[in-house]
């Protein structure tokens, strides 16, 4: 038989490529084509005026000029980052503490499974539903204000106050994501070799020192990952502030995020400006990811990386 003769030179590589085809097809259709058409669209004036389409007329970099020099993009970028940071700091602190508690064998915490489920719950609720809930709770005649009035306090118009609106968005982002972060950090903490921690304790390190000098450096890659994904998620913040402020971006556009601004253009079918804005956001996100990733990973020349490299060489666990 032919087959048995060629048996030695059979290559399974082609199956690899065949099995990769669906991925590349989907990647091209749903990722490459949209990205390139966004780039393409950003060079045209193209929008709907009522029921008539204006354009597409080639305008070169005009759309980029408008977005960069003739719009409030810096303000919206500031809003976005501020709201993200205000939400991210408590998120990482609380998640860290919870992750340490849940993984600490000495604390003998009970019902950890239950608590882990509970803190993850907010993430399962749709962001839209969650912000509707907050919107109803904090509205001018909502339960929170009823409570304040019952306590003898003046009612507060939360959504007419800049800090309150931004704070609420940050709070919701925190509530929605700290469970997820806790689970990720727990995975990191549990990956640390017990013997290292024990060694530190035998050497007389306090638990703070153990945390600062052993645990934290060991889970640095996980923290970098959490930071990165949260930052990228933060730049793309949209649904919570959109629903909470009914698309208006809060008082004086101070809770208008960059994607909300993008949505404003998309909503009026202004593909040119929306395309230019998307491209700018794409580049900013890419640069940010790159800088942070390199910075945090390269400086990390501690024994941890060396050890993990050795572990890989040695076959790993």
């Amino acid at each position: 038989m032919k087959g048995s003769k060629k048996a030695k030179s059979i290559s399974y590589a082609k199956w690899g490529y065949i099995f990769l085809i669906p991925f590349f097809l989907i990647y091209i259709i749903f990722f490459m084509i949209p990205v390139f058409s966004t780039f393409y669209n950003s060079f045209f004036e193209n929008y709907m005026s009522g029921l008539t389409q204006i354009g597409p007329n080639f305008v070169g970099l005009e759309n980029y000029k408008t977005i960069l020099f003739d719009s409030d993009l810096p303000k919206y970028a500031y809003n976005t980052l501020l709201i993200w940071i205000v939400g991210f700091i408590p998120q990482i602190v609380v998640s860290m503490v919870l992750a340490l508690w849940f993984t600490n064998a000495r604390l003998k915490l009970r019902f950890t499974g239950f608590f882990k489920t509970v803190i993850y719950m907010p993430n399962l609720i749709m962001a839209a539903a969650f912000s509707m809930l907050f919107w109803a709770l904090f509205s001018d005649i909502g339960p929170i204000n009823n409570f304040l009035v019952a306590m003898g306090h003046e009612p507060i118009s939360f959504f007419q106050n800049i800090n309150a609106t931004r704070g609420l968005i940050a709070l919701m982002n925190f509530l929605m994501w700290f469970g997820n972060t806790t689970i990720l950090l727990m995975a990191g903490v549990m990956g640390i070799d017990e013997s290292v921690l024990e060694a530190a304790q035998i050497d007389g390190a306090s638990s703070w020192k153990t945390f600062w000098h052993v645990t934290l450096p060991s889970i640095k890659p996980i923290i970098v990952y959490v930071f990165l994904t949260s930052l990228i998620g933060g730049i793309q913040m949209f649904d919570v502030p959109q629903i909470l402020t009914n698309g208006s971006g809060g008082p004086d556009r101070t809770s208008m995020t960059m994607i909300m601004y993008l949505n404003k253009h998309l909503f009026s079918k202004n593909y040119g400006l929306a395309g230019a804005l998307s491209v700018i956001l794409f580049i900013v996100t890419a640069i940010l990811s790159f800088i942070i990733y390199r910075n945090l990973m390269e400086r990390d020349s501690s024994w941890e990386t060396r050890r993990s490299k050795q572990a890989i060489k040695g076959g790993g666990k």
């Binding site: 005026s49 009522g50 001018d140 556009r253 253009h265 202004n270």
Partner: protein, 481 residues
């Protein structure tokens, strides 16, 4: 064990794909309300002669017309057997209805026959956009109504939907003169009388209005609920359209007056700092409200104010003529039913209005014609609607008759014949200054200046925010030089 795992994996994949498909559908399609199947159709009409479409698609932004259609057209057995009526409702806010409608209309040619829009509703704020397009049909030449059919209507309701070539592109069942609806009990407390004639005397000019506002404030009441309540009395009396021929946004002096008045009212505590359509605003119209009155046009009284005034909603389908006894029983002592009355107020104005437009490409023109004739031209139907729902309908003669009918009174307005006031006010309606951009710009200026009224930003910032939002919404518009 392995087999079991495979089954589980397969199930998970199936579940995920199902949820993906479900999500896609949710996001893509506006909610459609299925028609009521159990509506009896006693006498099927002898029409249609030609082959008509099996599905009649009607688009609107709320269920006002849906309710009328159900009671006065479908309920009367006028929908031919085998024709399914499908309503698609997309809320108006933030141009959402216009955007959805535009998309469907642009796709009209390629849509399957049963998916094509046959009839859609437009509001005064953006009627022109559709009237001056090829997506609407001439109701005389294309749809087949006659001049006699529409002879009884208020002329302005036809002028507003007449395109540049003189074709009438829509027809309405209502005229929308505006009035000021006040709380009798509060008027008694503040002015010592609840008699409409006396209250009108006290509120006949804006200066008087300020004086009463001050008195009401002293007694612990608010004159108006929110920032936008008096907006239409100014914005619909402007001397020029929102946008000039060069596509520049022009803020009329009357709008500036509204800003000035509202700022003063807010600073002095004469209003309750609500915004149109929000919960607090609706609550102010109900039993717990402490607001003197509301500017409202016809639909506002029957469709919005009545609903908000009740403690418990009326049962479905119950109207003043369908079962007078039950209606009386259900409304007496229900919330503040009967505590409102209407007067002309300090300024004549109009607000809103809904027009029926036949969509180009409709495959149900016979039925569309019949709906238009029954719902907007037939005096009998229109009179019944007025009696049932207090709506001011689009037939001059019928409205004049009711206006002079001493037996006609609205129980909701404490036995007042509001049609008399409406009929008077309707004569003064002038819609010549509307533009296709009105919805976005009216909403935009209300939203932007809310921050100014609150004291969050100064006047110039609010103005700047308004222009920004306007140009985002309508990229073709420009700031004034």
């Amino acid at each position: 064990m392995k087999g079991f795992r495979r089954v589980i994996a397969l199930m998970l994949v199936l579940m995920m794909s199902v949820s993906l498909i479900a999500c896609g559908k949710d996001a893509g399609e506006p909610a459609t309300t299925p028609p009521d199947q159990d509506e009896p159709s006693p006498e099927p009409t002898p029409e249609p002669k030609q082959e008509e479409g099996k599905v009649l698609n009607i688009w609107g932004w709320n269920d006002e017309f849906q309710g009328l259609f159900k009671d006065y057209f479908e309920g009367k057995g006028k929908v031919p057997d085998g024709v399914e009526v499908k309503f698609t409702i997309v809320p108006n806010d933030d141009n959402a209805y216009q955007n959805a409608l535009d998309e469907a209309l642009l796709n009209q040619e390629n849509a399957a026959a049963d998916e094509k829009i046959d009839l859609f509703l437009v509001e005064a704020d953006y009627a022109l956009k559709y009237v001056d397009s090829d997506y609407t049909l001439d109701i005389i030449k294309d749809v087949g109504l006659t001049q006699e059919d529409i002879a009884g209507q208020y002329k302005y309701t036809q002028e507003i939907v007449t395109d540049s070539k003189g074709a009438i592109k829509g027809t309405s069942w209502q005229a929308t003169p505006g009035l000021f609806a006040y709380r009798r009990s509060i008027a008694k407390d503040v002015l010592g009388t609840d008699d409409p004639a006396e209250v009108q005397k006290a509120l006949s000019t804006w200066e008087d209005f300020y004086d009463v506002a001050e008195k009401a404030h002293a007694k612990g009441y608010k004159m108006l609920s929110g920032y936008d309540d008096s907006y239409r009395t100014f914005s619909n009396n402007v001397s020029q359209p929102w946008v000039d021929s060069e596509k520049r946004i022009i803020i009329d002096d009357n709008i500036l007056k509204w800003i000035e008045q509202t700022k003063e009212f807010t600073d002095k505590g004469y209003n309750n700092k609500t915004s149109l359509w929000d919960d607090a605003w609706a609550a102010d119209q109900g039993p717990g409200g402490k607001v003197f009155g509301f500017f409202y046009s016809t639909w506002g009284i029957n469709f919005t104010l009545l609903g908000n005034a009740l403690e418990t909603p009326l049962p479905d389908g119950l109207t003043a003529t369908s079962d007078p006894e039950a209606y009386k029983e259900a409304t007496t002592g229900n919330g503040i039913f009967g505590d409102y009355a209407v007067i002309e107020g300090p300024q004549n104005y109009y607000w809103g209005g809904s027009w029926l437009c036949a969509a180009a490409g409709s495959d149900n023109l016979e039925l569309v014609q019949e709906i238009m004739r029954t719902m907007t031209c037939d005096p009998e139907t229109l009179i019944t609607i007025t009696k049932d729902r207090q709506d001011f309908t689009n037939n001059i003669e019928a409205m004049e008759t009711l206006a002079n009918d001493d037996n006609f009174a609205s129980a909701f307005l404490g036995g007042q014949n509001h049609i008399k006031l409406f009929a008077e006010s309707a004569k003064g309606i002038d819609m010549s200054n509307i533009s296709p951009y009105d919805q976005g710009l009216n909403e935009g200026i209300q939203t932007a200046f809310r921050d100014y009224f609150n004291g969050t930003v100064d006047y110039d910032t609010a103005l700047d925010n308004f222009y920004k939002a306007a140009i985002e919404k309508y990229p073709e518009l420009k700031r004034p030089d």
